[in-house]
């Protein structure tokens, strides 16, 4: 998203805007794969007795700030927490600077921006882990507190989002100063690659359920394309009078996968670059609204059907970052409520896993959908001499970071199946990798907030676009997404933690 925003600016002057967009997106996708795989590989060194990431900083739920921070591994328990925090920052700065160099970003500005992003994001995480905000009822006695908001430490994500929104909307000077490091797409894609390994462990423990979830996820997303898109396109064209050039990216942006789909569709039908860009601005703003509303709505109304809530987040919340982030919050909120109300402790990760599975499959099909639209437009709607759509375009539009996600997921699964004795060590390794996944998530929330400029909604001409968006998203997509999630995931539950 930020990447797209940066590309958007560049393309106004670039002679080949579509090429620039495609190249930057592919580069960022591959970088996310390499960064994610690096963290994953370093964590797996535990299998060979080398604890290479145990120094990374973790934050537990705290009442005394001085006891909140600690290194991830007991091997490094004597390392001062401040040193662990600085080491984590320097490690991330190093690998992200390499990524920034590959993206031809201004390295000095990136380093400055990233420093601010890391400090502010982690401060939000720290605040969100305060016992009075985070502790669930079962933890209050141990923490010696009488009350808490029970928001779990994932509330740090929401705080990061709010701080980001405040900066993006009220402190434009700061937002401009750190914009080089505002790259939520890079952060979330890296987090998703790392998440693959974590979900591999989750799936390893419940293989039958995992297979069933993947099948249902595939079913649900095919439906999302076929049922969402045509209706949104029809409403935009028939009732709002949008031209084909506007209606197709708008339909993809609202119904499929936000920014990526809008840009892929814009390219497929040869829309002017400004069209998917304007749609993308709306997508980002409304994704933030969904992110702040839907997980809490799910906690209130769907606590008895956690997997329905999980799939709903994947189908209804647009943009990868906001959808997976919503899954993470829903995971925490629903597990906390199930524990508080029914005394049931669901295994962590399953709700997030379903959201991610649904979202990843949606991403996989963006290329196919763009190819189909490109063929229809070039062959039937806007026929031009010499127009040919090549199947290789499916690969060109394929979001490459998904390869990293699938690789980490399958590798963990394969090692676990081949050598069951290694499972405890793999679990410990993925727990270490998960520390970085959480930090990438956190920076995604913050970055989404910074780049979500709500004032754009009031700008000239946005009302009509926003009207279609509001009508289709809140009047159709959300409810159909809920229905489809209910049909496929009703009665499916995460495993319960034993003991």
């Amino acid at each position: 998203m930020a990447n797209e925003a940066n590309v958007i600016k560049a393309e106004a002057t670039s002679p080949e805007p579509a090429t620039a967009i495609a190249q930057t997106r592919v580069a960022e996708d591959w970088l996310a794969v390499w960064i994610g795989l690096l963290v994953f590989a370093l964590s797996l060194a535990l299998l060979f007795g080398a604890d290479l990431l145990g120094w990374a900083i973790t934050t537990s739920i705290w009442t005394m700030p001085s006891k909140a921070l600690a290194p991830a591994s007991k091997l490094y328990s004597k390392v001062p927490s401040l040193l662990s925090l600085v080491a984590t920052y320097l490690f991330l700065l190093g690998i992200l600077l390499a990524a920034a160099k590959a993206l031809r970003a201004n390295l000095w500005r990136f380093a400055q921006g990233f420093t601010a992003v890391f400090i502010l994001s982690y401060a939000c995480w720290f605040l969100g882990s305060w016992a009075y905000i985070a502790a669930t009822p079962d933890k209050r006695p141990a923490l010696k507190i009488a009350w808490s908001l029970s928001l779990t430490n994932e509330s740090g994500f929401i705080i990061a989002l709010i701080v980001g929104l405040l900066i993006g909307n009220f402190l434009p000077g700061i937002a401009r100063a750190i914009k080089e490091a505002i790259r939520p797409e890079l952060y979330i894609k890296t987090a998703i690659v790392i998440l693959g390994g974590f979900l591999g462990i989750v799936a390893l423990e419940q293989r039958q359920l995992a297979t069933s979830v993947i099948f249902r996820g595939i079913c649900a997303i095919i439906e999302a394309y076929l049922i969402y898109w045509p209706i949104v396109y029809f409403i935009s064209r028939r009732y709002f009078g949008f031209s084909r050039e506007w209606a197709a990216p708008l339909a993809s942006g609202i119904s499929v996968c936000g920014v990526s789909a809008a840009i892929a569709t814009g390219g497929a039908i040869r829309a002017r670059p400004i069209v998917p860009i304007m749609v993308s601005s709306l997508v980002v703003v409304f994704a933030v609204i969904e992110l702040m509303v839907l997980p809490f709505a799910a906690q209130h109304y769907l606590s008895g059907q956690p997997m329905v809530a999980a799939a709903w987040m994947g189908l209804a919340v647009k943009t990868d970052g906001a959808a997976v982030a919503s899954g993470a919050i829903t995971d925490s909120l629903l597990r906390a409520k199930a524990l508080a109300v029914s005394g049931i402790a669901f295994q962590p990760g399953w709700i997030l896993g379903v959201t991610t599975t649904v979202k990843v499959f949606i991403d996989v099909f963006i290329g196919v959908w763009a190819f189909i639209l490109a063929w229809i437009w070039s062959a039937k709607i806007e026929r031009r001499e010499g127009d040919r759509v090549r199947p290789v375009e499916i690969w060109q539009r394929f979001p490459k970071f998904i390869l990293g996600y699938v690789a980490t997921f399958l590798l963990v699964l394969a090692i676990g199946i081949a050598t069951p004795g290694l499972v405890p060590k793999i679990k410990a390794a993925m727990a270490q990798a998960n520390v970085f996944r959480s930090i990438f998530f956190l920076m995604t929330f913050f970055a989404i907030g910074v780049m979500s400029n709500f004032r754009r909604l009031w700008q000239e001409g946005f009302a009509k676009l926003a009207a279609v968006y509001v009508l289709c998203l809140f009047g159709y997509i959300i409810w159909v997404g809920l229905l489809i999630s209910w049909l496929f995931f009703h009665g499916v539950f995460p495993p319960i933690v034993k003991g």
């Binding site: 925003a5 958007i8 600016k9 106004a12 069933s212 099948f215 249902r216 079913c219 095919i222 439906e223 394309y225 076929l226 049922i227 898109w229 045509p230 209706i231 396109y233 029809f234 064209r237 028939r238 009078g241 949008f242 031209s243 084909r244 506007w246 400004i274 860009i277 304007m278 229809i376 039937k380 709607i381 700008q459 000239e460 001409g461 946005f462 009509k464 676009l465 489809i484 049909l487 496929f488 009665g491 499916v492």
Partner: protein
């Protein structure tokens, strides 16, 4: 990014409305119809598997 003059663009869309082509109607309703049929099939399969 330079702000687009969207009002002009939207006004022009109103005055130069592109009517829905038959192929667009086909795209919309065939896609939707396929979606509904597949929905029923997939629901039956997922029920059978569970």
């Amino acid at each position: 990014m330079s702000e687009p003059r969207m009002t002009e663009e939207l006004d022009r869309m109103k005055s130069e409305y592109e009517p829905l082509l038959p192929v667009e109607r086909k795209l919309v309703w065939y896609t939707f119809g396929t979606g509904v049929v597949l929905l029923a099939i997939f629901v039956l399969i997922s029920r059978a598997l569970s």
